[in-house]
Amino acid sequence: MTITAIGKIEKKGFGFGVWALVSEDGKTYELQNPPPELCQSHAKVKIEGTIQEGVMTLAMIGPVLDLESYEILS
């Protein structure tokens, strides 16, 4: 399932840390293998990606998002 979401990029403190998109409607998506540019906090990012139903992670913070494109808005 492909989705587009706008939100902030945050590091979540599970294990040594994972990067997540917390969308404006409050939903948390775990970023799968994010590029270095998204491995830092951003206030507003637009992301398009596919939810990976067959992937499990150590963070367990929400659906896993395989990035297709992104745009840093601020």
């Binding site: 403190g13 599970f14 294990g15 040594f16 994972v18 948390t28 775990e30 799968q32 293998n33 990976q52 139903e53 067959g54 992937v55 499990m56 992670t57 150590l58 963070a59 367990m60 913070i61 929400g62 659906p63 896993v64």
Partner: protein, 620 residues
């Protein structure tokens, strides 16, 4: 005559109770001894003491000795001996020269660990692990850690490993390139009493490293399913899954069923989304799903809760100083070992997996002892395996029964309770298990259904039954004085007023909010507190007001009035039972004020029902 009979029965009852206490909980159960204390009377002359000591020496064929130099004035001597000598001395003529003759019980300190940072492992004390260590340390058990791999950091060097597999890169070497799996393995079996680092729960158990998550922390359900089957086929009796997410998967479910059928206990993290319902694979029926506690024993802020949470264990939290779970692992950036605190249900699950290893080890030990005694045993003692002597269902039952129960857990934050490793091992050794009630049966069978789940622990059944019985008793008594319209409306009124459809309070549908079921499962007096899941009754709802409202509204309708009278009597019963068992009201607190409030309102309700039905009598 009747009074005399009651008095005799009362005395016999007291005598039996005291006798039972002395036999089971009291003196006979205090512990081991291999010497006996003889305390001579303080005013007995020294010459007489010497004479008596000579007699003791003659009969025991040993010289009694002073317990210490401080015992001279106290006249306290000890002799080596057991129960039979104790009895002999107590029935001998020496007895009359003593203040007491009693066993010199041996007290031993609980086993602890010499690892220098063990003192920072608050989580181990909170699960009472030292008591479990008095029995075993996981000997003979293999725990599969299905994770990011496990690296042999210095504090895992004394821990035994068996061959694992790296399903991500398809190779035998299942080293860790993330740090998560090594941390998890540390909680289970960190090398302990090695004067280094920290301790592990079942530190004599073997670790089977199975890598299914990449350095980035993610992995496929196909790899996880294969790893579970590998564990079951290669001698693991416990599997730890500190991972989750994704949707339902047949391949994973079948792998879990396969391992379960081979006697493997599967433990999984409930997830870190702070949502109602455990995530997969914790959600599967045959998995022990673990929620996380912080250092204060409360729900960790991130932990999933509600549907399919079996038990809770320390997962730590970044809020508060040193509130995380400390283990040694590998820092993926420096590639060096590091003692680091992590948080998550990922950390809670291995506490349970380690405890399962301790339970299985104790059961294996007992089974081996029994097999060794029996020359006709089909399997030799040394060939027995953990999966042959304990079933995953029994393990779950032991974990739940031994857990520390949490009162007022309306949201099922804690499952059956907080993990208690010490009690779990004690219970496993005693082998005393019983299925308590219908609700457990219902809950266990609820697992067969992937849509809903039932939490039997949400309801205190006895007060609810008393409330229903009480309401019918009131209706019966009232019928003696005034005619009641006995029928469906009255019955429903009695039920909704007293207990409500209370079994619905523990009902969950995955991923849906649970409050509608709490409301549907509440009686009228509980409606004021059921939405927020509080056990504090709201004094506006737990009063005569609702029955009064119903009576005023429905007085003109025959069936409606009967329903309202039923509610009034039901509420009266509810308030009475609450006044006795749980007089705790919002704003009024717990105690006499609430008790009086509930009692007075119960009387008002009875009066109201009488008034309403009395009116009817006149009409008839």
């Amino acid at each position: 005559m009747k009074k005399l009979l009651f008095l005799v029965l009362f005395i016999v009852g007291i005598w039996l109770a005291v006798g039972y206490f002395v036999d089971t909980k009291g003196l006979a159960n205090k512990g081991k001894f291999d010497s006996i204390i003889i305390n001579f009377d303080n005013d007995l002359p020294t010459a007489d003491i010497s004479q008596e000591l000579a007699i003791v020496s003659q009969s025991t064929k040993q010289n009694p000795s002073l317990n210490s130099i401080f015992s001279i004035d106290q006249h306290i001597y000890t002799v080596k001996g057991d129960k039979s000598l104790l009895h002999k001395l107590r029935t001998s003529p020496i007895k009359k020269y003593t203040e007491y003759i009693e066993p010199n019980y041996i007290y031993s300190a609980l086993e602890t660990a010499n690892d220098p940072d063990y003192s920072k492992q608050w989580n181990f004390r909170s699960i009472n692990v030292e008591k479990a260590w008095d029995n075993n340390h996981g000997e003979g058990i293999t725990v599969a850690v299905i994770d990011t791999g496990v690296s042999r950091v210095p504090d895992l060097r004394d821990t035994d490993f068996v061959e694992g597999y790296d399903f991500v890169n398809d190779r035998l070497d299942a080293s860790d390139d993330n740090g998560h799996g090594t941390h998890v393995a540390g909680t289970i079996a960190q090398s302990t009493n090695n004067n280094y680092g920290v301790a592990g729960i079942a530190y004599r158990a073997k670790i089977m490293p199975l890598k299914v998550l990449s350095a980035g922390g993610g992995g496929t359900v196909a790899d996880i399913a294969e790893a579970i089957r590998f564990a079951a086929d290669h001698g693991a009796s416990v599997v730890n899954l500190s991972l989750g997410g994704g949707g339902e998967s047949t391949v994973l479910k079948e792998a879990i069923d396969y391992a379960y059928s081979k006697g493997v206990a599967i433990v999984a993290a409930a997830g870190n989304e702070n949502q109602n319902s455990a995530s997969y694979p914790g959600r599967y029926p045959k998995v022990i799903s673990v929620a996380a506690l912080d250092a204060t024993g409360n729900k960790a802020p991130y932990s999933n809760f509600g549907a399919r949470v079996d038990i809770s264990a320390p997962g730590g939290s970044e809020q508060g100083k040193e509130g995380k779970i400390l283990q040694e692992t590998l820092d993926p950036t420096t590639k060096k070992p590091v003692l680091v605190g992590f948080q998550g249900t990922s950390m809670a699950a291995p506490h349970v997996a380690g405890t399962v290893a301790l339970i299985q080890s104790s059961q294996l030990q007992v089974a081996k002892q029994e097999a060794a005694k029996n020359p006709n045993a089909k399997i030799k003692a040394e060939d027995l395996k953990a999966t042959e002597v304990s079933s995953p269902a029994e393990i779950l039952d032991i974990l739940k029964q031994s857990s520390r129960k949490v009162q007022d857990d309306s949201f099922n934050y804690y499952g059956a309770g907080q993990l208690n490793a010490g009690e779990a091992v004690t219970l496993a050794v005693q082998g005393k298990l019983s299925f308590k009630d219908f609700f457990r049966w219902l809950r266990d069978n609820g697992y067969l259904n992937p849509i809903f789940w039932f939490d039997g622990g949400a309801i205190a059944v006895l007060p609810k039954i008393l409330m229903i019985v009480g309401s019918y008793l009131l209706a019966f008594l009232l019928r003696v004085y005034v005619p009641l319209q006995w029928g469906a409306p009255l019955n429903w009124g009695l039920i909704f007023g007293s207990s409500g459809l209370f079994f619905l309070q523990g009902f969950y549908i995955f991923d849906l909010p649970q409050w509608p079921f709490r409301i549907m499962g509440s009686s009228f007096p509980e409606l004021g507190n059921s939405v927020q899941g509080s056990h504090l009754l709201n004094p506006f709802f737990a009063s005569v007001l609702i029955p009064l409202g119903f009576l005023l509204l429905l007085l003109g309708n025959r069936s409606g009035k009967s329903f309202a009278v039923g509610i009034t009597l039901g509420v009266a019963s509810y308030l009475t039972v609450s006044a006795v068992f749980n007089p705790h009201l919002w704003l009024l607190g717990a105690g006499t004020v609430s008790q009086v409030f509930l009692g007075v309102n119960a009387l008002f309700c009875i009066f109201l029902a009488w008034l309403a039905t009395k009116g009817e009598q006149r009409l008839v």
